[in-house]
Symmetry: C2
């Protein structure tokens, strides 16, 4: 059992390093005048992230029978979008966070104006990069356009940005369970979901397989958010990189604050089980996704 | 001569109304939960703009022998991008403008956080909308992907956003002519250029025609910026919607501040002539673009 876990962590680390390498190579190409904005973009992307979303894109491709190389531009683009969303979320007028994963946030280093523009530029670069996925053999331009449209929808005003708006609107207010669920489905869930779907769609997965991955990533997003909330209460500050209890101090609505810690644990475990159930039609090729879901219950950062 | 001008103004107005109608229809479809962000997006788009950039997209299509209907999604998307850039430029940490075209700016009405998110959402919506251009008959998915990539590049860190960074970095400092020119080529010129090119490319224009339109839009962007700077000094506040002399008070580098008013006029006129020269290979179908360039020298808002 312990060697299974070790081997999963090695796989996770290898995938993270692969994504880091691709991102580094891409950002290096972008180094251009004006220097400052490209420095801020690179700072924002290399912030110690676990690269779970691009890893999802690669896994989607693999499960659909494709090569991970077939979706590298879209995978990197998804991480650029995730990075932009963190930079803007941290701004003084939003969550006003000085640190993220133990490092000063983008606006603390580069100032507010450059941080806003670096976020804008990462979002824009993501779409430029996605169009480059058309250069990879076997990728259908029409499918790529559909995938880009789906990604844009998932991170737009009816997706991730909508979730952030609900989050801002409900700070300091007590919200009900359904609102909390909608908030997180939009703010966190949709990006996980579209990541896994994108890799699979670009490699022409069949309807059954797509449905299974869609279900998996829905439950994964939920389990991720609940365990994230629990970590904020019980986590190790050095590993999570943010002060324990910051949600409570910021009067954030969380699963533990609404349901209590025990019930939150139970819900996270149920969501992970739902992840595993969703993968029933796959064989060994889905083992990494299975371990990834279970890992959420034991993660420390 | 005067009836020519009247007829041009009627054509300009008709095209503006066509674009307004398309934008209205599109934004109406987007009305969804959460309400606030969609209200802010609509407010930002319906700000009294002249819609010159989407009109350029439509003209590009027409000159290439296509129908304006063939490029409506991309044309609207370009205006969403332009609107987002204005919302973010006006923010307190950027140009800190309370009014635009006589109306309170987005962050004055909705607050800073929602204004940042509305800008993000408009940029994201633009890319979602562009992918929808694939549904129009005769549009090649591969060409559309190239156009989306070109648009993203033009408004990214090496384009429009780069120009805004140079603008911020040079406020209150005296810059040289080459830097001013680069600033405006990036901040204003690239979006005009990609607009005209996009409409033409999507309708499979030949290389010679594309080169002519590329040259035209380069000189158009320059003439637009110089006349914009002149209007800031000599304009009618009610027509321009911003206080006369705001550039000088904000210590902005402008063509008149660097070259003087007379030389600026001369340069604007030369750029307009260069616009007309670029169109030599076209016949009557380019008359609107010819009038549009000349109009810059006589515009009042």
């Amino acid at each position: 059992m312990s060697s299974n876990i070790d081997s999963f962590h090695q796989q996770l680390q290898a995938r993270k390093e692969y994504v880091d390498g691709c991102l580094q190579k891409y950002l290096k190409q972008q180094e251009a005048y004006p220097k400052l904005i490209h420095e801020a973009m690179t700072y924002a992307v290399f912030n110690g992230g676990k690269r779970l979303r691009p890893i999802m894109v690669l896994e989607g491709a693999r499960i659909a029978g494709g090569q991970k190389e077939s979706v590298v531009p879209v995978a990197c683009a998804i991480e650029l979008i995730h990075s932009y969303s963190l930079v803007h979320d941290d701004l003084p007028s939003m969550d006003d966070d000085d640190f993220r994963r133990g490092k000063p946030t983008c606006h603390k280093v580069f100032g507010e104006a450059i941080a806003i523009l670096a976020g804008d530029a990462l979002l824009t670069a993501a779409f430029e990069l996605m169009t480059k996925n058309a250069c990879i053999e076997g990728i259908e331009p029409r499918v790529l356009l559909e995938v880009i449209g789906e990604i844009a929808r998932a991170v737009g005003s009816r997706g991730m940005i909508g979730g952030q708006v609900i989050d801002l609107e409900s700070e300091g207010k007590k919200i009900d369970y359904n609102t909390l669920r909608t908030l997180h489905t939009l703010k966190t869930g949709e990006l996980f979901q579209v990541s896994l779907r994108a890799g699979a769609l670009l490699n022409n997965i069949d309807d059954k397989g797509l449905k299974a991955l869609t279900d998996y990533s829905y439950h994964f997003g939920l389990a991720f958010q609940i365990t994230d909330d629990i970590l904020d209460i019980q986590g190790n500050e050095e590993l999570t990189g943010k002060p324990v209890g910051s949600d409570e101090r910021n009067l954030k609505n969380t699963y533990p604050s609404l349901l209590g810690l025990d019930k939150s644990y139970k819900m996270a475990a149920e969501s992970v089980n739902a992840c595993l159930d969703s993968l029933a039609l796959f064989g060994e090729e889905a083992n990494f996704l299975r371990s990834l879901a279970s890992y959420l219950l034991h993660r420390s950062g």
